[in-house]
Amino acid sequence: MSYAAGIPVAERAITVVLLGNPNTGKSTLFSAMAGIPTRVGNYPGVTVEEKLGRMAYRGHSIQLIDLPGTYSLAPKSPDEQVAVNVLRGQMPGVPAPQCVVVVADATNLERNLYLTSQTLELGIPTVIALTLCDVADEKGTAIDIQKLSERLGCAVVRVVASRREGIDLLCDEILAATGVPQPRPVGLDASLTAATATHSPAASEAIARYQWIENVLEGIVQRNPPAIRSLNDSIDAVVTHRVWGTLLFAATMLAMFSSIFWLATPLMDIISRGIDALAAGAEGLLPPGAIRSLVVNGVIAGVGGVVVFVPQIAMLFFFIAVLEGCGYLSRAAFLMDRLLVGVGLSGKSFIPLLSSFACAIPGIMAARTIENPRDRLLTILVAPLMSCSARLPVYLLLCGAFVPNVPVGTPWLRLPAVVLACMYAVGVVVAAAVAFVLKSTFFRGPPEPFVMELPGWRWPRWRVVLQRVRESVWSFLQNAGTLIVAVSIVVWALASYPHNAEVIHAEVQAQRQSLTDQLASLDSTPADAMPAERRELAADITEQLAFLDTEVGLAAAHRGAAQRQSFLGQGGRFIEPLVKPLGWDWRIGCAALASFPAREVVLGTLGVIYNLGEIDPGEAEDASALVRRLRSATWDGTTRKVFTLPVALSLMVFFALCAQCASTLVVIGKETHSWVWPVVAFAYMTVLAWLGACATYQLGTWILS
């Protein structure tokens, strides 16, 4: 035990590895034994997740290593390679295991014993944890555990992890097995020799192992009575039926999606209102100045920006856990595989991508259900391209304000609605193209088999469902939440500094002067000779001047000037040459930069930049004020309007494709345990967004001229 050198004897932990097929309740067993993992990360060099936990039992310290779910120990995928290396003690930084717990599904023993037979050959002390025994009982499957244990040559423990049944017995067996050499499985060598003589080398191993398994299970498993079996069959007949199955699937997905979209909204409103109240309270308590601004606009806004995602995450994982628990999740992947295989994904990407239409954060977290690391990463990278609910207000405001409300073909279909639908389509089409390109370039490799178990129908275990929800919310708050708050504070600082009161005051004065001058030059021409357009301009300038004279208007002008002076504002001016081809002036560029923490703030930022102060685009009055101000905005020093139809379209396309959402990038980083992937996602999405917006503006201008 060289790894333990330097650690006091009393603290030496027994290293125990959990190994098992996917969907055997391995994670539930891990939680039942060790609770929340002490460490979650990636094994060096691969995107295979490493999960460690610790537990104390009868004075012994046990270190648990949860290996990724695998069907076999013949290394073919990164997951299996990691499993083999850890078991052999060849994984750097991971101590060699003293005991292996093979988690085997009692409802599907025959297939689960395949991995068991490979594990027993390694000679590491082995204990079998027979999970899902409650489900097996319901189905009427009886297993002679005593006999099974004798024939396998290792302890077999009946476990119901969701009710913590059998955990102590399992720990006793682990302690008893540790240090005792594992005998080779009886009869396996004979089977292997016999099969090699008659079959190809590729097939012989599998044939031999299944032959051995059939011998082991002879007379041990009493199969379920036909009545229950036929119920399972009739459910499957409907659910995977070409017509009914597809309809049921569409209905289920619609129900799930609309719940995330609509049911979470009132909860999110309550959280937003609570955060607003907290901000108002802090504003009342603290004196005006940098500290108040930091607390209100940095910390409280940042925390609010984290907590607001919780209802969606909790709801999505509730649905996923229920669907997984009753066996529908893999049927959904089964039904959707055909649609996604064409672009290089698999059916398992469907739910993560669908949920990304509500919000990419729960969607990216839902990609945990994809076992294949390559497919999972690809799904995570394209999920933010789905138009999430944060983009909707941007689309709605711009479509309503700048897209002419004319019928398209039929009187019921109006152009703004068509443009809105196009924005959603842009995301989907680009995601498909990106997935296809990535799959045929950087993610190239032998095709991954879509060989997936379809578990039997059963009632979801509510404890497991609630645990899943709690774990997902907790891991989001703990891992991503803290970082999102930190990013919000950094962006607050960039938008607030440098803060020079004199410069700001001077800018506001200069602005007032420029407006007065403009009005004077318009007034010098006789009123009746003024064309309508100029009269409108004059009325507009008068309105802006009147607003400047009010207390609110003056404060808003100061706020706007402060933002334009800040690092962020300077950044906006700096990138002006970059955003000019998109038809944007520096103010829009600045708003796009400032919306980095979250897309939905772009409207609020535009409000601040255009001297409207802090507005709430959700309020009809504020939104119409913003629309009026945007419509009247002109390029600096000219009367040329900034917001035309091509500009509005280019802005929408940009927001459809860009990665302006710090929370999403943080979650990508946390889910992939790497800082490479959020950078990749940000880079490729920003480039695509720029190209898309540029093409839209240039094409739009060319068509309209």
Binding site: Y71, S72, A74, K76, S77, T107, N108, L109, E110, R111, Y114, H199, S200, P201, A202, A203, E205, A206, I207, Y210, R223, D233, D236, A237, T240, H241, R242, V243, G245, T246, S330, A333, F334, L335, M336, D337, R338, L339, V341, G347, P446, P447, P449, F450, V451, M452, E453, L454, P455, G456
Partner: protein, 90 residues
């Protein structure tokens, strides 16, 4: 025991080997062999599609999607392209 969706009208000599892909939904057939020795074939064997095992095709997803199989007391889903590698006993 094997019922075919296609190929039944072809003369025997021209009839290609029957694969799991050709087995009609609802019927059962016995695996003869899994062709190929790559990752996918290995996986199919490991999942229990070994020569001699009886497989029932329980269902098929729409638009030519994957097949749902029953074998060794559990349900398995594989793509049609993968099913084509599994030849069935006639």
């Amino acid at each position: 025991m094997v019922s075919l969706q296609q190929n039944t009208s072809l003369p025997f000599r021209l009839c290609p080997e029957v694969s799991l892909r050709d087995v009609a939904v609802g019927s059962t057939a016995r695996v003869a062999d899994v062709t190929g020795s790559d990752l996918t074939s290995m996986r199919l064997l490991e999942m229990g599609l070994t020569p001699g095992v009886n497989v029932k095709v329980v269902g098929a997803a729409f638009l030519g999607g994957p097949l749902e199989l029953e074998l060794r007391g559990y349900r398995l889903s594989i793509r049609r392209s993968e099913a084509a590698r599994v030849t069935m006993a006639r």
